[in-house]
Amino acid sequence: MRFDTVIIGGGLAGLTAGISLQEAGRKTAIVSSGQNAMHFFSGNFESPSADRDRIAALFAAAGVRTNAIDGQMLMPMGTFRDASLTLEDVTVFPDRHVADKALIVNFTGFHDFFSTFIADALEQDGTACRIRFVRLPEMEHLRLSPSEMRSVNIARAMDEHWEKVVADIRILHKDEDLILLPQVFGLKDASVLDKIRTALPARVAFIGTMPPSVPGIRTQMLLKRRFEVLGGTYLMGDEVTSAALHDGIVSSVTTRNLDTVRLFADHFILATGGYFSKGIVTTPTQVHEPLFGLDLDFPENRSAWYRADFFADQPFMNFGVKTDEALHALKDGEPVRNLFAIGSILGNTRKEDFGTAAGLAIRTAFAVVDNIKGENV
């Protein structure tokens, strides 16, 4: 099979590149093992406001609405983070005094929404908080198994029964000017978020939970659908097993499911992620990129990979595939001329240019797409 571009990895970086290339009329395939960091996306693009129009446009075309507002995002543990572009689920506040009075509503027995921490933090900034719980007979089946009260399972029930929860909240609500709910709504259809906002008698803010992230999963599904609607080929649950790399050029790759059918392309984009998704693999003595054997810098002495303080910047989080300015991956010190590396496989090696996290994924994807399209060459 022949494509203009083959992207290895179907997370935020891979999908952003794939959609952009298909929009430009390039025939693109994405090989995805099925796991990716969208399932624990905070909803914050962690990207400078300069890029936000382009990101917002790409997501809007996929049916993902975003908030382009500079302000403060309320995190699940009650802390705040700067935000300039977020998914529409995330409410961005101008400052930490989010309201005079807030009603925090959780589901009875749902331990992945941290209402106590949120209330405590908000009270310190002058918001009086009341925590109340709702319990629906329609959700009781989830309790039959002791590990089913998790975000996505609740969200599945909420797709059907959100109106009943809204009715309960209307009874609980007194005079609060803000109602805080966990992000367990609109798994299939984000329009439920607006319906809930309209139906409740105060402003509504949806706050993150322990992963899996319901907004992240929905966004991933919509981006994948957008890519396929544009004519892209998404090879789900497949993995690249080998690559033909000669004289600084990748000619083709093979995958587990396609067996002997090779994927040929002019360009290849490596978006296989960091350690968790096995884009980078470690042994007691080595840090390596398993598909192409690309260059990576790491200290030989393993003790230098870590710091004892868990919350300090961990050196291992900085390790990543080395690239040239244009994000061509390096092998044996030389750029592979048609192989680009994007997203968290870069670690923090390009932090100065592209930032970290979701911002890194999207901005490196844009940079590579521009390069392929010849706009920046």
């Binding site: 960091a37 624990f40 996306f41 905070s42 914050n44 962690e46 995190m75 699940p76 543990m77 009650g78 802390t79 705040f80 983070r81 009875t108 027995g109 331990h111 992945d112 941290f114 209402s115 106590t116 921490f117 209330a119 405590d120 933090a121 009781e140 309790r143 039959l144 002791p146 590990s147 009260m149 993150g208 322990m210 992963p211 992230s213 960091g274 350690y275 968790f276 096995k278 693999v281 470690t282 042994t283 007691p284 002495n301 393993r302 003790s303 990979w305 870590y306 004892a308 303080d309 868990f310 919350f311 961990q314 291992f316 989080m317 996290a357």
Partner: protein, 531 residues
């Protein structure tokens, strides 16, 4: 009696202190136990969790071997909920001397330890994880024991018999009257208050830190801190304890415990000042991995969960400061006789296995000094939670059709699991999925077992001891603690400490799946949850 007066003050909340508090309280003494951290934070919680048969010491130290097998049989009775009767093998590998086996068996039998030579093929059938190259195997009555549970049970029973327990309280000095210790000065790290307590006798049961306590009292004990490093593997690779049949050496014991197995240990002399901050080095990790795979080859491809190290409280048996006469045996010092200091005794040396005997010896001494004539009953009286053949049977006595969550609670708490609320699906809901710890079990621990933070909770419930090392359950349990203690700020700081403490054991083995987990945890806490 004045509020701060006791018959006996016990310094140290490890297994020796807990056992001594129980014994003293059962003999009718008014007991106060003081611990500067939490229960089982020293060597008690930092060993193999091996229920020694004594076989390991049979060739070199008959006395220790005999003590072990006697206590082994006692613990099976009085602490059945803490003990897993796995049996043990002493295997001979091609590079070992098979002649050692005959001497080993003979020494075991002489010490009263059953030792049965098993055909290597039969041994491999009984324990498929064994190195298939083995040329000899001897079966002995080893087992595994959960030291946290054992310590907590002793503490609970001491309290049932009237003892008072002060955790996070540090002894800062002694109150002396001439040549007599009258009591202790303490500082509570949680209330930040300094308080004095008085007793006729103070027992120094502080393990390796006993040297410092003795210094405070004005007497010298020569300790020789020896660090031992161990690794926890993520699966219970073996069902039977595996030892090497040779002179005791590094990394020659593999113990199955709960859902994991533990390889150890090493032995490195360290300066006394380092006892509070022991770290496992890459060299120690490499040695343990390499030697462990010789016992059970599957270890080479099994994920490692964490590394940790403890400090053995080895002590010079007499006043010899050179350390030439180091004993692994029990050392019970009457400082009146030894140093002319009245009202102060030390119990140290020994092993997890012999804690009860140590407690009995020192309590006998305390009773003699106080002219109390009551016999020790700890060898016959079961600890709270003990009873029943296996956890299924116990669970079925409590509930008609026990769920897996209820069975998991019984496996940890024995018969006292009946105090855990599990009637409602809310209580059965899991907080820690790796170790199946439910809401009810956590609430019960918070209510009954002196839990001030997540790490305390871990020692009492196994929360966060599984594959994810607390990455998911830490947050959930922090939420429960914030609610129970009404203090979210403290719970948030506590969560950070908990994660840093878990990380301490993860980065020494931070490669492969462990590093994948670590990256995920970094992401979740820094980017998603915003800790």
């Amino acid at each position: 009696m004045k509020r701060n007066e006791y018959d006996v003050i016990i310094v140290g909340g490890g297994i020796t202190g807990a056992g001594t508090a129980r014994d003293c309280a059962m003999r009718g003494l008014r007991v106060l136990l003081i611990e500067r951290h939490d229960i089982a934070t020293g060597a008690t919680g930092r060993n193999h969790g091996l229920l020694h048969s004594g076989a390991r010491y049979a060739v070199t130290d008959q006395e220790s071997a005999n003590e072990c097998i006697r206590e082994n049989m006692i613990l099976r009775r009085i602490a059945s909920h803490c003990v897993d009767e796995t049996d043990g093998f002493f295997i001979t590998l091609p590079e070992d001397d098979l002649n050692y086996q005959a001497k080993f068996v003979e020494s075991c039998l002489a010490a009263g330890i059953s030792a049965e030579v098993i055909d290597p093929k039969e041994a491999l059938r009984m324990e498929p994880a064994l190195n298939p190259d083995l040329i000899g195997a001897v079966k002995v009555p080893d087992g595994s024991v959960d030291p946290f549970r054992l310590c907590a049970s002793n503490m609970v029973d001491a309290k049932i018999h009237g003892a008072q327990v002060l955790l996070y309280t540090e002894v800062t000095g002694f109150i002396k009257d001439g040549d007599t210790i009258k009591g202790v000065r303490t500082y509570n790290h949680q209330t930040h208050k300094a308080v004095e307590y008085y007793a006729n006798i103070t027992v120094n049961a502080a393990g390796i830190w006993g040297q410092h306590i003795a210094d405070l009292a004005g007497v010298k004990i020569g300790m020789f801190p020896a660090k031992g490093a161990l690794l926890i593997f993520a699966h219970r690779v073996n069902g039977i304890v595996i030892n090497r049949c040779r002179k005791p050496a590094n990394a020659d014991i593999l113990v199955p415990g709960d859902t994991v197995c533990i390889i150890g240990t090493t032995s490195t002399k360290i300066p006394f000042e380092e006892c509070d901050e022991v770290r496992v080095t890459p060299d120690e990790v490499n040695l343990l991995v390499e030697e462990g795979a010789k016992l059970a080859p599957a270890l080479a491809s099994t994920r490692i969960l964490r590394a940790y190290a403890g400090v053995r409280p080895l002590v010079s048996a007499d006043n010899d400061p050179s350390g030439r006469n180091i004993s692994r045996g029990i050392v019970c010092l009457d400082h009146e006789e030894r140093d002319g200091l009245k009202g102060f005794v030390t119990i140290t040396g020994g092993k997890l296995m012999t804690y009860r005997l140590m407690a009995e010896m020192v309590t006998d001494l305390v009773c003699r000094k106080l002219s109390v004539d009551k016999a020790c009953e700890t060898a016959e009286t079961p600890l709270p939670g003990a009873g029943g053949k296996n956890f299924r049977e116990v669970a079925e006595k409590i509930w008609e059709n026990p769920t897996t969550v209820q069975k998991a609670a019984v496996a940890r708490l024995g018969t006292t699991a009946n105090r855990v609320q599990t009637s409602d699906s809310l209580d059965q809901s899991l907080i820690c999925e790796c170790e199946e710890v439910s809401v009810g079990e956590i609430n019960s621990a918070i209510e009954r077992l002196d839990v001030s933070g997540l790490t305390d909770l871990r020692r009492r419930t196994r929360l966060g001891m599984g594959t994810c090392q607390g990455e998911l359950c830490g947050c959930r349990a922090a939420g429960m603690l914030a609610k129970a203690h009404g203090c979210a700020d403290k719970a948030r700081d506590d969560l950070k400490d908990f994660l840093t403490e878990r990380w301490k054991g993860m980065y020494p083995i931070g490669w492969g799946d462990a590093l994948r987990e670590a990256e995920y945890t970094q992401w979740v806490y820094k980017h998603v949850l915003g800790v």
